[in-house]
């Protein structure tokens, strides 16, 4: 596999990149922190990646997306898989009274994510297809007070992923939508962990299976598929009482 990974210096993306490296995939890492990219590239090389290159790319700077993907194509010759796991997170109270932060969260997690995915999609379609793996969240499956706007951006991203899959799968582009449940990563550090919280390595293993087999939607850990079925069925009056 020749994969472009945006957001693989951290969290589940880091674990996923390691699994790909161990089986000898060729990788290009995109990210905004040059030092973090270099460190992760060294880590993945040591773990067996056939090739690791890096290119600067900031989800807040859509003007750089085309250049980053072009750099990735040059480094790998060609690529067949693009994974977007970069995103931002903010609790509602962190956004209160801060319109700039609010706009940034919506822009980065949805508008700019879509802009990046559209650029990646165009490249994959031009070569006859491939896999576009998009990290959304179970927070997008049902509204909650505590995940607020973050959940809304993920709901929108899930919607985009589904529509893209419906349109492009016949043309050879497989869209894999990842909906992680609560996973212990740097992003969720300090948040109260619910039951069935997952570990990034195990979650990444499931995501890689989904990528290899082209599953359109994957919940990880798997139990979250059942949990979300139940949560989505709850009437709003119940959600209100649970202060969910």
């Amino acid at each position: 596999m020749k994969a472009v990974l945006f957001g693989a210096t951290r969290g589940i993306g880091r674990s996923l990149a390691r699994l790909m490296a161990e089986r000898g995939d060729a990788l290009v890492l995109l990210g905004r922190d040059a030092d973090a990219l270099q460190r992760s590239a060294a880590d993945l090389s040591a773990r067996g990646a056939a090739q690791v290159a890096t290119a600067p790319c900031d989800l807040a700077e859509p003007a750089g997306f085309a250049a980053a993907l072009a750099a990735a194509a040059t480094a790998l010759g060609d690529f067949d898989t693009v994974v977007l796991s970069a995103a931002e997170f903010a609790r509602p109270e962190q956004l209160t009274g801060d319109p700039a932060a609010t706009a940034r969260l919506v822009t980065v997690n949805f508008a700019n994510s879509v802009a990046f995915l559209e650029a990646a999609r165009a490249r994959l379609l031009a070569r006859g297809g491939g896999t576009l793996c998009i990290f959304s969240s179970v927070a997008g499956d049902r509204a909650r007070q505590q995940t607020g706007l973050y959940g809304a951006t993920k709901a929108a991203l899930s919607h985009y992923a589904e529509s893209t899959d419906l349109r492009d799968r016949p043309r050879g582009l497989r869209v894999v939508l990842v909906k992680p449940g609560f996973v212990h990563t740097g992003m969720t550090a300090g948040l109260p962990a619910p039951p069935f919280a997952g570990e990034p390595d195990a979650v990444a293993a499931r995501v890689l299976t989904a990528i290899d087999r082209g599953w359109p939607v994957v919940h990880a850990p798997a139990i979250w598929r059942v949990i979300m079925l139940a949560v989505r069925a709850l009437p709003r009056a119940v959600l209100r009482r649970l202060a969910f």
């Binding site: 973090a36 460190r39 060294a42 880590d43 040591a46 990563t185 740097g186 550090a189 300090g190």
Partner: protein
């Protein structure tokens, strides 16, 4: 704020643990680094609740791994489990393995861990070529046996009190095959067990003895000597054995589960199982080195009250009466130790506060029962002091400062290093408040 505790879950405190991928950033405002919290007592806990603890476990990248020379450099949060996964298929293993693979490199260095091969191989510190550290003033430095040797020696086994460890460079051990050749034999009493352990250590690189610490009288200290070595090329297949399955203790068990009766039953079963059907031949290295890792969260077996471990080294020569008296005290005070392990230690390493020294190390687990357990530890420590031994800080939760000072003539030298590199004692822990006289 999150609940923090060591593996024994005594004590437990509300603490401010900060996690992040960039260790230098995470450590900058922290008073202590903490890996996976596998030290048993309060070594990884903050000096006071509002003191920031740097959680290093997300800083787990390999910096470089040379498959020709076996030199590995990784961030401090890199886990032994990851090391085995990465290096073992390439013919390299950690030169020293403690009782669990769920530890970070930083934690291994800060505790200067030892293993079943201590009598020939020493502690992990003997294989550390270099450390990248962050000093108390926030600056970074590369240290090693030749670069800032005093700070380096104090950091090996220094329980995180000298500096934050950011990266560790380690010389690994070459193996021919990823399998262990093992032998086990039972012995009916303490003198024969200790003699057999010593004899085994003359022939085997890995030795340890499990002791039944409950049986009194004639069979006091009966047990099993377990020995092992890496398989030679002609003895085992080149392919690694498949990963052993693990079970999980899903929740805290009530305290009676590991009460006296059940521990006695376990000890009987364990002894006779090994007596009638000793395991010989090839085994998975994880089963040999980390048998308890097969049960995730095994500390829950002790219930919410937690447990304490007492590990000491008694510098006994051929006189085993010291060790017999130690076990008599243990059984007299009713300490029903579930896991009691004996290990003969080799020479002292270069770590300024490293635990092992020539003699016998005894490690035992007892459930925490408040004042009675404190009294037991105090009593056991009297034996340690009389024998000229010392305790293992990575296991300790209850030793008193005066007792520790009586065991540890090296404390002044350690304090001197801290004065040089951290005059304000910004780096502190609950353990250093309890034993080193630090302000909370």
């Amino acid at each position: 704020m999150t609940l923090l505790s060591g593996w024994g879950r005594v004590p437990t405190v509300e603490g401010d643990e900060r996690l992040g991928e960039n260790l230098a950033d995470v450590c900058r405002f922290a008073s202590l680094s903490r890996g996976l919290g596998r030290s048993y007592g309060d070594a990884s806990l903050p000096a006071r609740p509002d003191a920031i603890v740097a959680g290093t476990r997300l800083g787990d990248r390999v910096v470089a791994f040379d498959r020709e020379t076996g030199v590995l450099r990784a961030e401090a949060g890199f886990r032994l489990e990851q090391l085995e996964h990465l290096a073992r298929p390439a013919g390299w293993v950690s030169p020293v393995s403690p009782g669990t693979r769920h530890v970070t490199l930083g934690g291994m260095v800060a505790s200067d861990v030892h293993g079943k091969n201590h009598h020939v191989a020493g502690c992990i510190g003997a294989y550390v070529q270099a450390l990248r550290v962050q000093l108390a003033d926030g600056s970074e430095r590369e240290i090693g046996p030749e670069r800032e040797p005093e700070l380096f020696a104090a950091t090996l086994g220094g329980m995180g009190l000298t500096c934050h460890i950011l990266e560790v460079e380690l010389r690994l051990l070459a193996i021919a095959r990823p399998w262990i050749v093992t032998e086990e034999q039972t012995f009916p009493d303490l003198p024969s067990l200790v003699a057999a352990l010593r004899e085994a250590s003359r022939h085997w690189p890995y030795t340890v003895a499990w002791v039944d610490a409950l049986t009194r009288g004639r069979h006091l200290g009966r047990g099993v000597v377990i020995t092992g070595r890496w398989a030679e090329a002609h003895e085992a297949p080149a392919t690694a054995p498949t990963q052993a399955r693990t079970a999980t203790v899903p929740f805290d068990l009530p305290a009676w589960v590991l009460g006296r009766t059940s521990v006695r039953a376990f000890d009987e079963l364990f002894y006779w199982a090994h007596h009638w059907r000793p395991r010989r031949g090839l085994v998975h290295p994880d089963l040999f080195f980390y048998p308890l890792d097969g049960i995730r969260h095994w500390n829950r077996l002790y219930g919410t009250g937690g447990f304490v471990q007492h590990q000491c080294v008694l510098p006994v020569g051929d006189d085993d009466r010291v060790i017999t008296r130690y076990f008599e005290t243990l059984t007299r005070l009713g300490g029903a130790s579930f896991l009691t392990v004996l290990k003969d230690c080799g020479a002292e390493g270069r770590g300024l506060l490293s635990f092992p020294k020539p003699g016998l190390s005894v490690a035992l687990d007892v459930p925490m029962r408040g004042a009675a357990t404190q009294a037991l530890v105090d009593e056991l420590n009297r034996h340690v002091i009389e024998a000229g031994g010392r305790i293992y800080l990575a296991k300790d939760a209850l030793t008193r400062a005066a007792d520790f000072a009586a065991m540890e003539p090296r404390l002044a030298a350690f304090d001197a290093v801290r004065r040089t590199w951290d005059p304000e004692r910004r780096l502190r822990s609950a353990l250093s408040v309890r034993l080193f006289g630090d302000a909370p």
